[in-house]
Assembly symmetry: C2
Homo-oligomer: 193 residues x 2
DNA sequence: CGCGACGTTGATTTGCCTCAACGATTGTGG
DNA sequence: CCACAATCGTTGAGGCAAATCAACGTCGCG
């Protein structure tokens, strides 16, 4: 029996048992209480986080002092601030546990070493990034072609489980609308059905 | 003297001259007249395009029959529909030359073979995708935190050259606003200065 | 119990779109 | 080479979707 991460990687590339063991030995497991942070603004992001269990959020505070969520990470998703990671600059993001979480921490330095020892990992992360990029593109399609009401409805049908696990105001923030707006849409929906 | 693509790759990874030659031999050069297409809806996207000279656009037609541009590609940028490429499904995008263009065509199949022969390419594309993903994330930040007027102003100061090379209505489409709106903002700007 | 976090509802405001008409420029066929 | 059409940008009037401001209800928790 292997960790969820190894299972996930093997969906994309093949990994020998030795490689899997080596990789596992380089990761640290982290249990997080709801609302715990692994990154706060001003700090450099030095790791990539794989969510084994629970739900994380990546967000920042806008000029108008509003939380803007840019990404959620649930089971089998990586979450990090690639910009800070890449440029080795302080982040302006928070990464926080929305629920009690279990994550695997892959430090950037360790990742670089592992790429030398397990070249196929480079491929794995290329594929992961391609998927993430495609998802980001699609999200922009939704933003540009749908009204906010359509976007909310679409979101809540495409990710029903999601919609239950995170509070309304976070969904609102992720969709870029106000909590009041979502409340109204829900009220309308309820009245119809 | 090497091709712009080799030069670009060498900014990210090191490539032997043999590798560079091999790679070059696997690429085809393509000259495009303004308004020529390399991808249209219904066709599968089978290649990744590197813009050597000129400007390309990736766009689709919305339900309301409006062109929505999701990406521009200028010198030293790759442009493709990763979704179609990845899932081997018909695309719903157009990829078109905005100006007369010169592009290098890397067929997906060829790319896969090359990864075996030149493993470091895998790293190159991982890094490119990471940059693209980060840019997409930042674009969403702009979308969520700025008004459309601010977004236009920000865009035209951050990419002044850009703003001159593509017609207004394409900038409008990329920013998700109407051409009329941009026109009004420009009028306002002119009145002030 | 009392306080803070979260959600709801109503009234008003506003940023941008839509529709429409009209110049200016480009480009194309006779 | 000119005439006419198509393309692109501008401007005005009116409308609407969602934000903002504000007050209130409710639940969970220290």
């Amino acid at each position: 029996m292997h960790s969820p991460l190894i299972t996930h990687i093997r969906k994309f590339v093949s990994l020998t048992d030795e490689e899997a063991t080596l990789l596992s030995s380089k990761l640290t497991q982290l249990k997080l209480r709801k609302k715990a942070f692994v990154l706060t603004p001003g700090k450099r992001c030095t790791a990539n986080y794989f969510v084994v269990k629970g739900c994380m959020r990546l967000y920042f505070i806008t000029d108008k002092d509003v939380e803007q969520i840019t990404q959620f990470g649930i089971e089998d998703w990586w979450i990090t601030d690639y910009d800070s990671l890449d440029r080795q600059q302080p982040s302006h993001f928070y990464i926080q546990a929305v629920e009690d979480c279990e994550v695997m921490v892959l430090e950037q330095k360790v990742q670089e070493e592992l790429f030398k020892q397990i070249p196929v990992l480079e491929r794995y992360f290329r594929l992961i990034l391609q998927k993430a990029y495609t998802a980001a593109q699609r999200r922009m399609e939704y933003i540009f072609t749908m009204t906010e009401e359509e976007r909310y409805r679409s979101f809540s049908t495409r990710f029903p489980a999601f919609n239950q696990r995170v509070p309304q105001y976070m969904v609102a923030s992720y969709l870029g609308v106000t909590p009041q707006f979502i409340s109204r849409v829900r009220a309308k929906k309820a009245r119809i059905s």
